[in-house]
């Protein structure tokens, strides 16, 4: 099938060619990238509508290189095995959907929040690599592409100053590290099965070594998707990178890739046992809760969105970790929905940042009259992400709840018996998400307009168009979820089942969310009681002030300690490992005292130890 080779090669080759074109003619670059992304969306559609197939890439003859070299290059074909099944098709079509939107947005956005030099090249190379990753059947090719994606994501944060280069560094180190760990996992899989082909591998997790292989691959998937405990690069990335990069990678593509691989691991490569399932579920739940808690105390709205990207991944991990059909479908559906509304939110944040120049929530306010389209889209995304009907987030979240309930009744393992706990925490996470988005939308769009933002205008149509399209998709996939989206897109990848809606989870989410928000926004429960008793006056205008919210949270005695620790990086695996490596380094460096006698004695000691060994 031609489309498979084209969808990989054309973006990568165009991207490399665009690297050579000088920055002065950037419109040529922008339009080339838009053209190629539309083309690849078309090819993605072709692949999506075709039957599942396997495909071996055939390398043509290169008469110029001579016969021997040509043959040598053709031996590369050994590794270029592609397999397109329903899961790949599902992820490919959405990868294809985001490409034109992001490049459209990139044309419009300039300056600090928009494209930067060579954005198009790295954008297109990433696109081609992502398509290849989603289709490959060979684990070696997979790990190759995965690592190469780490390089392009590094290049998608322009390192301008100390903090942005630190974020770039952290991103590359974490994703590159996951690539290294995955090599070990894949090597173990190969030594167990003698094959690198995903379709031929199916290993039961029952021994230490298979556990290790499983978790090594999970580390790769979690890092990419941004799930606990490998999540910590996401907020830094979204804070420092331009919105167009954030909308493209951590919001959309990385979720698709990471969750795609998670499904491959959990459902193709391994057969999960109960304990493994429990660990995955716990990781999902922790991601949901801690990320949303961290989001509560952030001032920078792009960082808030970064934390939400982690929290939403928790739902997907949870759904897929359940291991039943409903959970899997819910996880995949939530992956798609999240990609849609999270990209949209990053587009919106880019618009706000561009038009106001402010990065902090407390500096914004009352923008709904100034930027009506942005506001409307933002509302839609906020309601979607919080799981309010009739938007798509509601459907996928309630499917996850359904999955948890089914899971509870289907087995007797420890994870199954705890289903109430999982359900409760998932609902709590959703409620806190609602709190966050009341805060986000409230403080940005409602309240009083700060004096220096009086002249703010709506952005150019080219910049709100992508988010408007995404908002329509949010509504469409929400309303027609059962009648069109599920049967046509999801069921082919997972299998069919009946969905039923669970009214009390949504109800609990809304009530709990609004209650928590009110408590925080007014300054604590005691304050509410005082207000009700009319002993204290309450300024209703303050209800959307982000400042009060932070203060309430910071002053809560138990939480403040935890937040302080979190801010110091105590829950950041990158930070912890960095600390311990430097600790060992200090000790080792002290041993190198520069005194010759010490060094000589090491040599002698080494020799003696070797001889004793003999």
């Amino acid at each position: 099938m031609m489309a498979i080779s084209l969808i990989i090669m054309v973006p990568i080759v165009t991207g490399i060619i665009l690297l050579i074109i000088p920055e002065r003619v950037r419109y040529i670059k922008s339009f080339a990238s838009l053209f190629v992304s539309v083309l690849s969306a078309f090819w993605a559609w072709q692949i999506f509508s075709a039957e599942p197939l396997t495909y071996v890439f055939i390398i043509p003859d290169f008469p110029l290189l001579g016969e021997e070299l040509s043959l040598a290059l053709q031996s590369l074909g050994l590794y270029l095995h592609f397999r397109v099944d329903a899961l790949s098709q599902l992820t490919i079509i959405f990868t294809g959907l985001f490409a034109p939107l992001v490049s459209l947005y990139a044309i419009g956005s300039t300056g600090k929040e928009g494209r930067f030099s060579n954005f198009e090249s790295y954008f297109l190379i990433t696109l081609g690599l992502a398509f290849a990753t989603l289709m490959t059947n060979n684990l070696l090719l997979f790990i190759f592409l995965w690592g190469a994606l780490a390089l392009t994501i590094y290049k998608l944060i322009p390192s301008k100053d100390s903090s942005s280069s630190a974020a770039a560094k952290k991103t590359l180190i974490m994703i590159g590290a996951s690539d290294g760990i995955m090599i070990a996992g894949i090597a173990i899989l190969y030594s167990l099965t003698g094959s690198f082909n995903i379709s031929e591998i199916s290993v039961e997790t029952n021994s230490a070594i298979t556990y290790f292989a499983f978790f090594a691959l999970i580390a790769g998937s979690f890092t990419k998707a941004g799930a606990f405990p490998f999540h910590s690069w996401v907020p830094d990335f979204t804070k420092e990178a331009p919105s167009v990069s954030s909308a493209y990678l951590p919001a959309a593509l990385d979720k698709l890739l990471g969750i795609y691989f998670l499904v491959r691991i959990c459902h193709d490569l391994f057969i999960m046992t109960d304990i493994v399932r429990l660990i995955i579920i716990v990781a999902g739940i922790i991601s949901i809760i801690i990320a949303v808690m961290m989001a509560l105390i952030q001032h920078d709205y792009k960082k808030v969105l970064g934390f939400h990207a982690i929290s939403q991944v928790g739902y997907m991990v949870l759904g897929i970790g359940l291991g039943n059909v409903v959970g899997l479908a819910a996880g995949l559906f939530h992956m798609i929905n999240n990609a849609v509304f999270k990209s949209g939110l990053f587009f919106i944040s880019g618009n706000i940042k561009k038009m106001t120049g402010k990065a902090k929530l407390d500096q914004l306010g009352g923008l709904w009259t100034k930027m009506p389209v942005t506001f409307l889209c933002g509302m839609v995304f906020a309601l979607s992400i919080s799981g309010i009907p009739p938007f798509n987030g509601y459907v996928s979240k309630s499917m996850i709840y359904q999955g948890i309930i089914d899971f509870g009744s289907s087995g007797t393992g420890m994870a199954n018996n705890l289903w109430m706990l999982w359900l409760g925490l998932a609902v709590l996470g959703s409620a806190l998400t609602l709190v966050n988005f009341i805060k986000l939308v409230g403080s940005a769009f409602f309240g009083k307009v700060p004096g220096n933002l009086i002249k703010t205008r709506e952005t150019k149509p080219i910049m709100w168009l992508p988010s408007a399209i995404l908002a329509i998709i949010c509504l469409f996939t929400g309303v027609f979820a059962k009648s069109w989206v599920m049967p046509n897109i999801i069921f082919s990848a997972t299998g069919t089942f009946e969905t039923y809606s669970i009214w009390y989870t949504t109800f609990a989410t809304v009530v709990l969310g609004i209650f928590i928000y009110l408590v925080l926004a007014t300054g604590g429960i005691r304050k509410i009681v005082m207000i009700i008793r009319a002993k204290e006056k309450f300024y209703f205008g303050n209800i959307f002030s982000a400042k009060v919210l932070y203060n309430t949270l910071r002053n809560a005695s138990v939480l403040s300690k935890v937040f302080e620790m979190a801010n110091n990086g105590m829950f950041d695996i990158y930070h912890i490992l960095r600390k311990s490596v430097f600790f060992i380094n200090k000790r080792l460096s002290l041993m190198h005292d520069g005194i010759l006698q010490t060094y000589l004695s090491w040599v002698i000691a080494g020799l003696i130890i070797l001889l004793i060994f003999l």
Binding site: G147, L151, S165, I173, G180, A187, G606
Partner: protein, 510 residues
């Protein structure tokens, strides 16, 4: 290929070294142009013989025939492994010497620099060709002595101290090596390596070869800078002028250390399980401690030097894994895989570490500092250094599509299949920390501060040329993973290690 061509590999640089002081009298610029010519000729010669001479040949100097069964002449042996090493040595030597033309302009006494450099190249080429222990030792010393002088070339306090430490530890290593050689001679009454190989096969006492091997591991371990014999390296490699650092880290430790270990332990001594365990242990130790030392360094060249320790660890651990598979007579496929990974990594490390030292030199040349804290914002002024050091950094950290990814992959794969999970784990961890400090280098050198206008300029053309060529090699050497290309470039060397007794058989024709 005629046998006499082999001799040219060290005759040309030796001749050059002694001619240059004479030509200097007529033109003070002559040495810096003669040296690149010499290294270029050597590079062409080594490539030519590598491609057209896949078989082993031995050249007997003076044509002295063996008396009875005893070979009495000086033997020079060229086989797959020697050819492989010669290509690497002369490749790095060529780019370093071209780079040195601009770089060394600031130094005084340039003629001595080029003389010493040629001597060092002659010594290294001699080591990989020597067919007997005596000449091996002599050539080792030629290379080592010139490197002592080159380390001290800056004649400042640090350089002299580093050189002094290097000399004392190197001298100690020589003593140990000489002791080992004497023991061999005592037991076998010969110094010809092929002959020793025969003699040792007949020795019934198994403990004796192992004893000598441990002595030799210590001696050559100092040269290869394995932990705990590494202490001289961080000082010496960071103090030398950058083109020399590139040579020292890129090829010298591999020629004097790793190559000799490979040659002696695979082709001369019978393959032995306990020795291979020692190699694996030392390799694993160097791998992890090397990176743990490097990660805290703020001196750029010192960081690169520490990282060399860890990468030699990778190579040695890979060799050890292959050796243990050979010794146990188990899965030969794993042994091939391990050797391929080791040799591939050896070649890769020569290229990317050579390039990184040249980058460090370029930064020092332009910004006049080696301290990463004082750099920053160089990306705008030094785009070529940025791009080339990025490809080298990503290659050394093992990220695709650069070549380092593949060699690391093969080594980890071999370790896992062979069942050495600990080594595989250490390799992964070391790889991650390597990535961490090379991204740190990228951050602190090129970004971090907003770039302000300053007088920093990109380095002169010849330095650029060397860096660009090596950066392209970092990418291009990935194709060595392809089976058809591996066949030509890596397999001759791997076969030398796999067919342990072939070496002696072919030379002595028995």
């Amino acid at each position: 290929m005629d046998g006499w061509i082999i001799v040219l590999f060290f005759v040309i640089p030796l001749f050059g070294a002694f001619v240059m002081p004479v030509t200097y009298l007529f033109s003070s610029d002559s040495p810096k142009f003669i040296t690149p010519v010499i290294t270029f000729v050597l590079l062409i010669l080594s490539l030519y013989s590598f491609v057209y001479q896949p078989e082993q040949i031995a050249y007997i100097i003076g044509g002295w025939k063996p008396v009875g069964d005893v070979p009495i002449a000086i033997y020079l042996v060229y086989d797959g492994l020697s050819g492989f090493m010669l290509v690497i040595i002369n490749l790095i030597a060529f780019f370093s010497s071209v780079y040195a033309i601009n770089y060394m302009e600031e130094y005084t006494g340039q003629k001595y620099f080029y003389v010493l450099m040629c001597l060092m190249i002659a010594g290294m080429n001699g080591v990989v060709l020597a067919g007997d222990l005596f000449n091996l030792f002599v050539f080792t010393e030629i290379a080592a002595k010139s490197s002592y002088a080159l380390v001290a070339f800056g004649v400042k306090k640090d350089e002299l101290e580093a050189s002094f430490k290097y000399q004392v530890l190197g001298g100690m290593a020589n003593l140990i090596i000489l002791f080992g050689i004497a023991m061999i001679y005592w037991q076998t009454q010969t110094l010809n390596m092929a002959d020793i190989s025969y003699m040792l096969q007949n020795v019934e006492n198994n403990i004796f070869p192992v004893f000598i091997q441990l002595i030799l591991i210590t001696g050559f371990g100092v040269k290869a800078a394995l932990i705990p014999f590494h202490a001289w390296l961080p000082d010496a490699h960071s103090s030398a002028p950058s083109p020399i650092s590139a040579m020292l880290s890129g090829v010298l430790i591999k020629t004097l250390g790793v190559y000799v270990i490979m040659r002696l332990f695979f082709n001369v001594f019978p393959v032995n399980e306990s020795v291979s365990i020692v190699l694996i242990a030392l390799g694993g130790l160097s791998m992890i401690i090397g990176v743990l030392l490097a990660v805290g360094a703020w001196d750029l060249k010192r960081m690169l030097a520490y990282s060399s320790i860890s990468h030699v660890g990778y190579i040695i651990a890979g060799l050890g894994i292959g050796m243990i598979m050979l010794a146990r007579g188990e899965n030969q496929f794993v042994a091939t895989l391990a050797f391929t990974g080791s040799l591939f990594h050896l070649a890769n490390h020569a290229v990317f570490k050579g390039l990184l030292f040249l980058n460090a030199g370029a930064i020092e040349y332009a910004a006049n500092t080696r301290d990463m804290k004082q750099m920053g914002g160089l990306a705008k002024f030094m785009p070529i250094t940025l791009t080339s050091s990025f490809s080298a950094s990503m290659s050394i950290s093992g990220l695709p599509p650069f070549s380092g990814f593949f060699s690391k992959l093969i080594i980890i794969l071999a370790a896992v299949i062979a069942g050495f999970y600990l080594i595989a784990g250490l390799a992964v961890v070391a790889g991650i920390i390597t990535l961490a400090y090379f991204v740190k280098f990228q951050k602190y050198a090129f970004y971090n501060k907003p770039s302000v206008s300053s007088s920093i300029k990109e380095v002169p053309n010849l330095m650029r040329m060397s860096m660009i060529s090596l950066a392209i090699l970092c990418l291009l050497m990935s194709v060595l993973i392809l089976p058809e290309i591996r066949e030509v470039f890596l397999n001759p060397a791997v076969n030398t290690l796999m067919e342990t007794t072939d070496y002696a058989d072919k030379i002595l024709g028995r």
